[in-house]
């Protein structure tokens, strides 16, 4: 039996259409808009002004606090404006818009493709470099990585877990990264291990990516203390709590961080970014984005500069087909639907999925028949049907008691509900309200 996590989980159709497409470098856009808030935490402070000339990799916004991240220019050119730009939620948020002129990289960046194995930096130096490079989690949460590497006093990291699960249907960017950048990944992992002062790293990969498993297993033999584990295909195995449970059979306590059980989880993309930052001094200004959809002309994986308009990325994959009903930024289970394709690609954009109109519309909700399916699939052991009701009835204190804050918003409940109820819609709402209450109480 393959390892997996213990409670709940679903298995949506995988639809990894673009799994076979090699990563293609997307041509430079004419203009990029780089939001100053692309991560969890405080927005960065712009350090350029309108009219400034910038190079690729140049710092344009400075991290603003412990939980925040630097932002670098992804192109070279002139800063056209620092104005609010519509982001993927439709709200206008401050962004640095740059008109592209050529492709001049910052001199410090090592643009060669050779592998650089050795790393003689100390843990602190590594962490500092990761912070400077503005690396945030590429697994979707965009949490500043240097924060996760700074193990709090009194806690000790025992194992590094590398998240190559990519349990979301459709998405293949991590899969391609593992296949095409296996060596970089391994070095990145060694660096992360050093930063965390741990001896072991476990890479968890779902069994629907046998090529990645065998490739990495083979590469890993060259390095000490890196194990590759095949996992049963089960959503949301990529959730860090689930992955930790699957790999080392420990449960992160409710409300606690993984470090509580001695684990630190990083995405494969993050590890590669760490390699590039530490060994090549390359900040995070581009990422792999899967562009896919059943009716898309050429489902692809692109290496995209941050700030590129989403419309251009999709155009490169053949453009938005005629009967597209919905475009999602991220995976189909957790991604955000776009209200317009004019917003830019950010550090958290792992994929863009176009759904044909007939799959886009939700079905009409019926009455909850209390079938308990939502309860049985919830990986956190919650009772979504109840949370949904409580949220609708605004009974937030009881929601807190029913542990709504444990919800990882994986969407398994809404996915499974035969009555097509928008469970997560209301749970998320309630979670936000409860969060407010809890914060107010602490204050």
């Amino acid at each position: 039996m393959l390892k997996t996590f213990s409670i709940g989980g679903v298995h949506p159709p995988e639809n990894k259409i673009s799994a076979g497409s090699q990563i293609v470098v997307l041509p430079l856009p004419k203009q990029v808009s780089i939001p100053i808030a692309q991560h969890i935490g405080a927005p960065a402070n712009a350090v350029v002004t309108k009219g400034d000339k910038v190079k690729v990799g140049q710092l344009i916004a400075q991290s603003n606090g412990f939980v925040s991240a630097n932002i670098h220019s992804s192109v070279s050119g002139t800063v056209a404006s620092i104005d609010p730009v519509m982001d993927s939620t439709g709200y206008k948020r401050p962004a640095i818009t740059i008109t592209v002129e050529g492709d001049e990289w910052d001199e410090t960046i090592d643009r060669s493709t050779d592998l650089k194995e050795e790393c003689n930096l100390t843990a602190e130096e590594i962490i500092a470099k990761v912070g400077q490079a503005g690396i945030v989690g590429m697994g979707g949460a965009t949490f500043p990585s240097q924060v996760k590497l700074s193990v709090p006093k009194g806690k000790k990291a025992e194992v590094l877990i590398i998240n190559g699960v990519e349990c979301e249907p459709y998405l293949t960017s991590d899969h391609r990264v593992m296949l095409e950048k296996g060596h970089e990944l391994m070095i990145g992992i060694q660096i992360l291990k050093k930063a965390l002062r741990v001896d072991t790293a476990l890479i968890g990969i779902e069994n629907n990516k046998p090529d990645a498993i065998s490739h990495l297993s083979q590469v890993a033999t060259k390095y000490s203390g890196i194990e590759v584990h095949a996992l049963k295909v089960q959503y949301p195995q990529g959730g860090e709590k689930q992955l930790i449970k699957a790999l080392i059979n420990r449960e992160v306590p409710s409300g606690a961080l993984p470090i509580e059980v001695g684990a630190v989880v990083h995405n494969v993309g993050t590890a590669v970014a760490v390699y590039e930052a530490v060994q090549k001094s390359k900040p995070l200004f581009e990422r792999v984005v899967t562009v896919t959809g059943k009716h898309l002309a050429t489902p692809s994986n692109f290496l995209v500069r941050i700030g590129t308009p989403i419309s251009e990325v999709i155009a490169a994959a053949g453009g938005v087909p005629e009967n597209t009903g919905k475009i999602v930024n991220g995976g189909p289970m957790m991604g955000k639907a776009l209200s317009s394709i004019d917003s830019p690609v950010t550090k958290g954009t792992s994929g863009l999925i176009a759904f044909p109109a007939e799959e886009a519309k939700r079905k009409v909700a019926q009455a909850c028949v209390r079938c308990g399916k939502c309860v049985s699939v919830c990986p956190m052991g919650l009772e979504p049907y109840l949370l949904n009701r409580l949220s609708q009835k605004k009974m937030f204190e009881r929601m807190e008691h029913e542990h709504v804050l444990d919800c990882i918003e994986c969407g398994s409940c809404s996915f499974e509900c035969p009555a097509n109820l928008p469970l997560l819609d209301y749970i998320r709402l309630g979670k936000a309200e409860v969060g407010k209450i809890v914060r107010a109480r602490k204050a």
Partner: protein, 334 residues
């Protein structure tokens, strides 16, 4: 683009499961039992089922449309299931107007008063059935003989159910060995050759339905199995203590409504607990109450009552028995 993009919160995909499909699968699972019933009871089984189903659907439609003034949702199939199960709990010679009253009670009182599908605390079909049982004890306890009365509806020849024979016999001071001459053997019980409500007789057909429901993941095994285990253990102990005055556990499992109740009625989502732990408590309760009523009560059969009583406990079970949460055990130390 000429059409507007849809925007909704995640997730953006769905399993494709629907209430209608679930209900449809329950109907499918009930078909073998219906077939057996029509084989044994013929016309009566057919007429009673038809009346029950049609009147349940009709009442649901009328109440939703004219009293609650909402869009009728009879197409979700739940009223169809209620109708079928109500019919399955009735003798096949029940006069039509009694069936209609039963359907009205089931749908009107049991379901719609609480707001319809998903809201009712008690199993609607059983509310209807028990209401009838208490209101029309004579009609509700005369059971057409299988096969012999196939061509008749109301004027069928009637007899007693094996459970009633045993109860009467024991009350009249006979021992099991004397009684067992008059009751069918276990094989006959399995195949359904006995008097009884039209859908409850054929254990084998009901078990086939069970397998279908499990296969289609409509229900989980917890509730039926916990009921079976409890009844088997409880009656087994009584039987071991005094085999002369207690029927054997197989007899208890195969007669009356145990199979029908455990597989199809106790598992009604709306009126059963939401997680396996709760389901076990629920099932054990039903099993124990069934045996208590059968052995010591006035009624020869107690499954319906047992399920209804345990239905009443479901809200308590749901608040007290929670699913195992991720990360809860470790929390105690930390």
């Amino acid at each position: 683009m000429n059409k507007l993009l849809a925007v909704s919160p995640s997730p953006h995909v769905h399993s494709g499961e629907s209430v209608n499909k679930l209900m449809f699968n329950v109907v499918l699972a009930l078909l073998p039992a219906l077939a057996v019933s029509i084989y044994y009871f013929g016309l009566g089984a057919f007429v009673v089922t038809a009346i029950a189903v049609v009147s349940c659907l009709a009442f649901e439609f009328l109440i939703q449309k004219y009293l609650l003034k909402v869009t009728p949702s009879i197409s979700d199939g739940s009223a169809l299931v209620t109708g079928l199960l109500l019919a399955f709990n009735l003798p096949s010679n029940l006069p039509w107007w009694i069936i209609v009253i039963g359907a009205l009670v089931a749908i009107g009182i049991g379901k719609m008063s609480f707001g319809g599908l998903g809201n009712n605390p008690f199993n609607p079909a059983l509310v209807g059935r028990v209401f009838l049982l208490i209101s029309f004890p004579v009609q509700m306890t005369s059971w057409p003989l299988p096969i012999e009365s196939r061509a008749h509806y109301m004027d069928a020849l009637t007899g007693a159910t094996p459970l009633a024979l045993v109860k009467e016999g024991l009350k009249g001071g006979q021992t099991m060995s004397a009684i067992s001459e008059h009751i069918p053997n276990n094989m006959q019980l399995l195949m359904g050759s006995m008097g009884g409500s039209l859908g409850e007789i054929a254990a084998i057909a009901l078990l086939i339905g069970f397998a279908w429901l499990l296969f289609k993941k409509v229900i989980t095994w917890h509730i039926p199995v916990s009921i079976f285990v409890t009844i088997f253990a409880f009656t087994g102990i009584l039987w071991l203590i005094d085999p002369a005055h207690n029927a054997d556990p197989f007899f208890h499992l195969l007669t009356g409504g145990v199979m029908l109740g455990a597989i199809f009625m106790a598992t009604d989502y709306v009126t059963s607990p939401m997680n396996p732990k709760g389901m076990w408590i629920f099932g054990i309760g039903i099993g124990a109450l069934t045996v208590i009523i059968r052995v010591w009560g006035a009624y020869p059969e107690g499954v319906s009552f047992a399920i209804l009583i345990m239905n009443a406990f479901v809200p308590l079970i749901n608040t007290l028995v929670k699913p195992k949460r991720f990360g809860e055990e470790v929390k105690k130390n930390g």
